[in-house]
């Protein structure tokens, strides 16, 4: 199994690269673009929430900030449609970082429960700003982005897909690095027992904030790319609470705190969501199916697909189970032990 892993990863990567060439159907490729975008967002979200245990239901705020950043910059600098707007994505990410540092600093002063709902509240503050700062965002009338007029038909989705795929690979690399570094071990220690981690010399505040900001950076870039892809943005859609929910659900379905779980969750749920949106176009049905799906996943498979599979296929189940089960015992040692266990199995992927 171990020797096969690099081969398997290369095959998956090659499949991802040639996918739009195999299916040159614009409808399919649109779903592929959205899937890649969500996979990036979930991977980045997991690098903060999955590893540190601080569940953020507000990172969609940075998605919205990135969307508006690209829209406003394109408008002010008269950027034409084409490849140029892609260069603005890192700028959008950095603008999201500028917002994320103070927001994260305030939110991370609180502990788990309060933190979760504080992130929700911050998300709604930003949505309100997008509605209210009319001079900047044009209020509820929304903004339009440059349209790449000379891309047409089946080609249209390709640049978006490959830029999105590049972002996904970058996010995966960052997530992999965090998981296998001393920094990541510190985050896991925070997840298991924050006070003890601090007692052992982990700089918890800086650790948490860094991961929060890294995730925000990716959300900003994903938001910007999504805005350019859909060509126009509105406050209620750029700052959409469903995005937060989708991201959390995808991470939980795949396996919170694993490297590959978020991608798996996105690959399963994003096409499913697009399918539901098309076939059950009345908003009520769509929301109900979504809520029901959510309940089923969480109640039947609360640990996610990857941890469940791993528990089945690994003999030493004590190591395979989520670290949190070592409650009351040696939490920090448990984290270190599990991280080592994962490293032995090749980084948990």
């Amino acid at each position: 199994m171990k020797a096969l892993r690099p081969v398997l990863l290369l095959v998956l990567l090659a499949l991802a690269v040639v996918f739009p060439l195999l299916f040159p159907n614009p409808a399919v490729d649109t779903v592929a673009v959205l899937t890649v975008l969500f996979a990036t967002a979930v991977t980045a979200w997991n690098a903060f929430s999955g590893y540190s245990g601080y569940i953020s239901i507000g990172h969609a705020a940075f998605f919205g900030i990135g969307s508006y950043a690209v829209a406003i910059l394109c408008q002010d600098w008269h950027v034409p449609g084409g490849y140029l707007p892609f260069l603005l994505l890192p700028v959008a990410g950095l603008i999201a970082v500028v917002f994320a540092v103070p927001m994260g600093w305030v939110a991370l002063r609180t502990r788990k429960h309060t933190f979760v709902i504080l992130t929700i509240a911050m998300f709604f503050i930003m949505q309100l700003m997008a509605f209210n700062l009319r001079g900047l965002t044009n209020g509820s009338r929304g903004m339009s982005l440059p349209i790449p007029t000379h891309w047409s038909g089946a080609f249209y989705d390709l640049p978006f897909y490959y830029v999105g795929l590049a972002l996904l690979l970058l996010a995966l690399a960052v997530s992999w690095w965090i998981r296998n570094s001393k920094y990541g071990l510190g985050l896991l220690a925070i997840r298991d027992d924050e006070d003890r981690a601090r007692g052992l010399g982990v700089r918890t505040g800086a650790f948490k904030l860094t991961a929060f900001v890294i995730a925000a950076f990716f959300f900003g870039m994903v938001g910007g790319l999504h805005a350019y892809f859909v060509e126009s943005i509105f406050p209620a859609f750029a700052f959409d609470p469903l995005i937060d929910l989708m991201v959390a659900l995808m991470a939980f379905l795949g396996g919170l705190g694993t490297l590959a779980g978020p991608v798996l969750g996105a690959v399963i749920l994003e096409p499913a969501q697009q399918y539901f949106t098309i076939w059950f176009s009345r908003p009520g049905y769509y929301l109900m199916i979504y809520g029901a799906l959510f309940l089923v996943i969480i109640l039947l498979l609360p640990q996610g697909i990857i941890p469940a599979l791993r528990a089945r296929f690994t003999r030493s189940e004590a190591l395979a189970g989520p670290v949190r089960h070592t409650e009351g015992g040696d939490g920090l040692a448990g984290a270190a032990l599990a991280a080592e266990g994962d490293a032995e199995r090749g980084g948990g992927a």
Binding site: V106, R111, K112, I117, P283, I298, P302, R324
Partner: protein, 291 residues
């Protein structure tokens, strides 16, 4: 000055409505350690139930509570048993996602049945106003406030004068210890959830009588309610009352001295400032390590 005083009066009166909804939320959190993100949707469901009773059976909005509150209590008990109790792993986080999913289900069902057109309730006390000097106030604000006072007083008596209240407070203080001295914490949890949802029904009626609503109003409501219970301190009943009244006063005063557009933003800003100084909220206990 005059308009500021008027704004404070309306702020306090309409704040009572938010106190009802927020009490349900903070009570559930206190006992069960979970955050019911579905509270906003349940409030809207309560508002629609009262609306239907009035439209089809011609039952007065306030009398209708005698039907909707028990029904919603039952719904709360059922939701707790079906979706919240089975969560064994990562309770806090998963319960947020589960209740969010319940919110989506309710929002979806309501949009299917009632569409997303805004609904406005009517009754003589909604359409007629009381004149105080140069200032008009719809009767419904006064009735709503009285309703809040009665229900909060009832809740206070229930918590402090009954045996059930004692076991509820014990479960709030320490779940494990309460279990050890023979309190059926599961039963207390189910009933608490029911009470929280019944309070949402009352809050929903009061809210629907003062402002137009549709199924999407749940997002606006839940973000305000969460802000209120964080500001008051999670699990603190006194905090929820003070923060609920305070929020609406701040909003109403801001909207007359500055602009209605920024009314809720100012409140959220105040929340952030308070959290910088006191991360546990006004009356909360520090969420440090639990032994």
């Amino acid at each position: 000055m005059r308009i500021v005083v008027d704004a404070i009066i309306t702020g306090v009166l309409s704040g009572g409505i938010y106190v009802l909804m927020a009490l349900g939320l903070t009570l559930i959190f206190g006992v069960m350690d979970i955050i019911n993100v579905g509270q906003g949707a349940l409030v809207i469901l309560g508002a629609y139930l009262s609306y239907v009773l009035q439209q089809h059976l011609h039952i007065d909005l306030f009398l209708g509570l005698l039907i909707t509150m028990p029904v919603m209590f039952g719904l709360g008990v059922a939701l707790e048993a079906a979706f919240v109790r089975p969560i064994r792993w990562e309770r806090t986080t998963l319960s947020i996602l589960v209740t969010f999913a319940i919110a989506l289900l309710i929002q979806g069902a309501l949009s299917l049945v009632f569409s997303t057109n805004l609904v406005q309730m009517h009754a003589w006390y909604v359409d007629h106003s009381l004149r105080i000097g140069s200032f008009y106030l719809a009767w419904v604000y006064i009735f709503d406030f009285l309703l809040s006072v009665v229900l909060v007083a009832g809740l206070y008596l229930l918590l402090n004068r009954t045996k059930f209240g004692a076991s509820l407070r014990a479960s709030m203080q320490n779940r494990t210890a309460a279990q050890l001295i023979g309190i059926d914490v599961e039963r207390v949890s189910a009933i608490t959830f029911g009470i929280g949802v019944a309070l949402a029904a009352a809050g929903g009626m009061a809210y629907g009588a003062t402002s137009a609503f549709n199924p999407n109003s749940q997002y606006d409501l839940i973000s305000r309610l969460l802000a209120i219970i964080i500001l008051g301190g999670m699990g603190s009943l006194r905090g929820a009352v003070i923060a609920g009244l305070g929020m609406l006063v701040v909003e109403d005063v801001t909207s007359v001295v500055w602009s209605p557009v920024w009314a809720s933003t100012v409140f959220y800003m105040a929340l952030v400032v308070v959290l910088v100084v006191r991360p546990q909220g006004l009356f909360g206990r520090l969420a440090g390590r639990q032994q």
